[in-house]
């Protein structure tokens, strides 16, 4: 008779404990506080049921922040994929100084966000920033453009900074995937008379689509949850025009100290992102099943 060994469970126990402490506890405590009147600096609170959720969902500022988050995620993700993918395809063909180009292109990803935020704030400053003053000097603008203080421009500028920041990560991953595509398949396709576009569509894409899918899932969650870049560059302003859901939650919890409501926002955020991930993973599973057929 076969005896069951529990030793393997003993080895994974520390990891299970860490995961439980660092992930499960915060999720449940957020869920609990989201139904209370918890204030950041007051010890006493009461149970409110779903009142916080009702208040949040009827707040126009929340929906404005949610819409900003959606636009921020979609535009940033599309931009990062476009730039990262193009850079990876180009780098895959480069023969000389490939390492140097790769290093140069990865630089934005290597810097901490605080450095990036302050650098861009300084470059784009409407009084002494290099870029606005150069644009005036070159007579492209009559007066220094307000890159970070005009509401529509501020949002676009933030998205562009995020694309510049996130594209290298896509590039490196796609490049790695591209290097795993067997070259003989391209050669065979060439012999069969396939065009470059057909080779790309029928050889390259199938080989990298799982990596791309995973990248899209990860980047969607990261970009949607991004806080530091926006907070450090515009603080959500002017007049809330760049405020996303994480900034809204922060303002609720740390600004007005309504930790109960802030927790409700994070729970809603969690539910939304979980739903997005489930959709993504369902699509990826379909791809995998098709591939295995």
């Amino acid at each position: 008779m076969k005896t069951r060994s529990y030793t393997k469970w003993l080895f994974v126990l520390p990891a299970v404990i860490v995961v439980a402490a660092l992930f499960i506890y915060p999720i449940f405590s957020s869920l609990f506080f989201s139904m209370t009147s918890k204030n950041l600096i007051r010890p006493r609170y009461s149970f409110l049921g779903l009142k916080n959720y009702k208040d949040i969902l009827s707040d126009p500022k929340f929906w404005a922040a949610f819409l900003n988050s959606l636009k921020w995620t979609v535009y940033s993700l599309l931009g990062q994929i476009l730039v990262g993918f193009t850079a990876a395809l180009a780098l895959n063909r480069v023969k000389l100084f490939k390492g140097m180009y790769k290093t140069l292109l990865i630089i934005p990803w290597a810097f901490p966000s605080i450095v990036i935020a302050f650098s861009w704030t300084w470059i784009l400053n409407g009084v002494y920033g290099i870029l606005p003053n150069l644009l005036v000097k070159w007579k492209i603008y009559e007066t220094a453009p307000q890159f970070l203080t005009e509401k529509n421009l501020a949002f676009i500028v933030l998205v562009l900074i995020n694309i510049w920041f996130g594209a290298p990560m896509i590039m490196v991953n796609v490049l790695s995937a591209l290097q795993t595509v067997p070259q003989d398949q391209y050669e065979a396709a060439k012999i069969d008379g396939a065009s470059a576009l057909q080779s790309f569509q029928h050889i390259t894409i199938p080989h990298i689509k799982l990596v791309m899918g995973l990248l899209v899932v990860l980047r969607t969650v990261w970009i949607f949850n991004n806080f530091d870049l926006i907070y450090l560059i515009t603080g959500g302003g002017p007049a809330g025009s760049t405020q996303t859901v994480p900034l809204y939650a922060y303002e609720m919890g740390w600004g007005t100290k309504l930790l109960g409501k802030s927790s409700a926002v994070t729970v809603l955020l969690f539910i939304f992102l979980m739903s997005v991930c489930i959709i993504y993973f369902t699509i990826m599973n379909c791809w995998e099943r098709e591939e295995n057929k």
């Binding site: 950041l40 400053n125 009084v127 002494y128 509401k151 603080g235 302003g237 007049a239 809330g240 740390w254």
Partner: protein
């Protein structure tokens, strides 16, 4: 049988441990009781004894991030530790904005220091959260009559002094004398004169006056308060509700919008205090409002301009005397969580010893003015070259301090006054008007309602 003996022994050991635990905790409580009451009941003999036997570690959070101030405080702590070898003072520094987040989150998790600096507007919130202890005894020890009455009053509730003012400063109008001279302009005395002059000086890469309304700071509240308070009004009603829709407040809002439109860099919509001050430090603005800290900023950024900067009282609507000044008496507080309030008190006392105190004030000359009467007349204080060079500025600022209060404190200390500055609602209101073109009265009413609901929630 062996098992029984072993379990009996274990039970006995546990019982002893529990009992000794109770005993030691009781003993700790006993020994802690005089510590907790040290600021109230203090026989001088007992206190001397306690001071001689000071022992323990304390953490001191402060926001003196600039080099000389940081060094002076560190030196004072080192000296104290040398005199009390069993004491360790751990100093941690934060910017003023980070500090607010730090203590509010720290309070929720029980991670607050033993003592700290604070902003006046935050002391009421700390008292309301039952986070800090009264320092009546400490103030009596240093000498109650040495402090300005207003400074002590704005840090007191129900006769208890919850903080001790370390230094003072007042908000004044800073000017660039060379620009005024070059354009044949006098120092403005009324708000209209200031606007006209600022508008005239907005040329050749210089802005007359920047109006900051970044939503991570309370600069727009500060500026609106200058206008309203100087005319005898207040941003709070007598029953401590937000007051942004009074005729005076609406007039003030419109005034600053006019300044933003005609005299200010447009980026100032996102400026915090440092962004705003940096423009003046670098000679980009002709006028600014700030304390004596401007001098050290200009000295560090544009030393060539030092001969051309000076300050004057803030204008008023009719050019008559100010009816209200904004001052700040920088408080030191001791946290209720502290296990060693007696060490904190003893250390704070040493900061007021003349040598240490003057050295500390000299680390930002004219920026930090004495919170203790008489120091400004001492030879040691006067001998600083910056204080001598900026004697006029020092006189102007000093003359404002005795009658001033922090924003909203004209009705006494209150949580509501803290909310005016800490929640940045007024900054959001200005941003909404400027960015979205919202009608002034509508935006003011919305901001007033938001502030009132926050005040209501905070005082429930």
């Amino acid at each position: 049988m062996r098992k029984k003996i072993l379990s009996a022994m274990l039970s006995l050991t546990m019982l002893c441990t529990a009992l000794s635990g109770c005993g030691s905790s009781a003993a700790k409580e006993e020994s802690k009781a005089p510590e907790q009451n040290s600021s109230e009941a203090r026989g001088s003999e007992e206190k001397a004894e306690a001071n001689a036997e000071l022992e323990g570690d304390i953490t001191f959070w402060h926001s003196f991030t600039q080099g000389p101030r940081l060094e002076t405080i560190q030196e004072a702590a080192d000296k104290f530790m040398e005199e009390h070898p069993k004491v360790t003072i751990k100093i941690e520094t934060f910017s003023w904005n980070d500090f607010y987040t730090k203590w509010t989150t720290g309070l929720a998790s029980g991670n607050v220091p033993d003592m700290s600096t604070a902003l006046v507007g935050q002391v009421s919130e700390m008292i309301n959260s039952d986070a800090i202890i009264p320092l009546n005894g400490l103030i009596d020890d240093i000498g109650r009559d040495k402090f300005y009455e207003n400074a002590l009053n704005e840090l007191s509730v129900d006769g208890n002094n919850y903080a001790v003012p370390l230094y003072s400063h007042a908000m004044v109008m800073w000017v660039r004398k060379d620009l005024l001279e070059k354009n044949n302009l006098e120092v403005p005395k009324t708000w209209d004169e200031l606007y006209e002059e600022a508008k005239a000086l907005t040329k050749d890469g210089i802005y007359g006056l920047s109006f900051p309304c970044g939503s991570t700071d309370f600069q727009a509240t500060n500026f609106l308060n200058f206008y309203v308070k100087g005319a005898g009004g207040s941003l709070l009603t007598d029953d401590l509700k937000a007051n942004l829709t009074s005729d005076l407040a609406i007039e003030g809002i419109n005034y600053w919008l006019k300044v933003y439109k005609d005299c200010s860099p447009k980026d100032s919509i996102n400026y915090n205090v440092l962004d705003q001050a940096t423009l003046y430090y670098q000679g980009k603005t002709a006028f600014d409002f700030n304390s004596g800290f401007q001098i050290s900023g200009v000295a560090a950024n544009s030393p060539d301009l030092l001969d051309y900067v000076d300050c004057y009282p803030i204008p008023t609507i009719k050019g008559t005397e100010q009816k209200g000044i904004t001052t700040s008496n920088q408080p030191l507080v001791i946290w209720k969580n502290s296990k060693h309030p007696e060490i904190c008190e003893a250390f704070i006392k040493t900061l007021y010893e003349e040598d240490t105190y003057v050295k500390f004030l000299h680390s930002v000359p004219v920026g930090m003015l004495p919170a203790i009467k008489g120091i400004e007349d001492s030879e040691a204080y006067k001998e600083d070259p910056t204080i001598q060079k900026f004697a006029h500025a020092e006189e102007v600022i000093s003359s404002q301090i005795p009658g001033g209060t922090a924003i909203g404190f004209e009705h006494g200390p209150s949580v509501q006054a803290g909310i005016l500055t800490n929640q940045h609602v007024i900054e959001e209101m200005f941003q909404d008007i400027i960015t979205n073109g919202t009608d002034v009265k509508t935006a003011a009413k919305e901001a007033e309602d938001k502030l009132n609901s926050l005040m209501e929630a905070a005082t429930q």
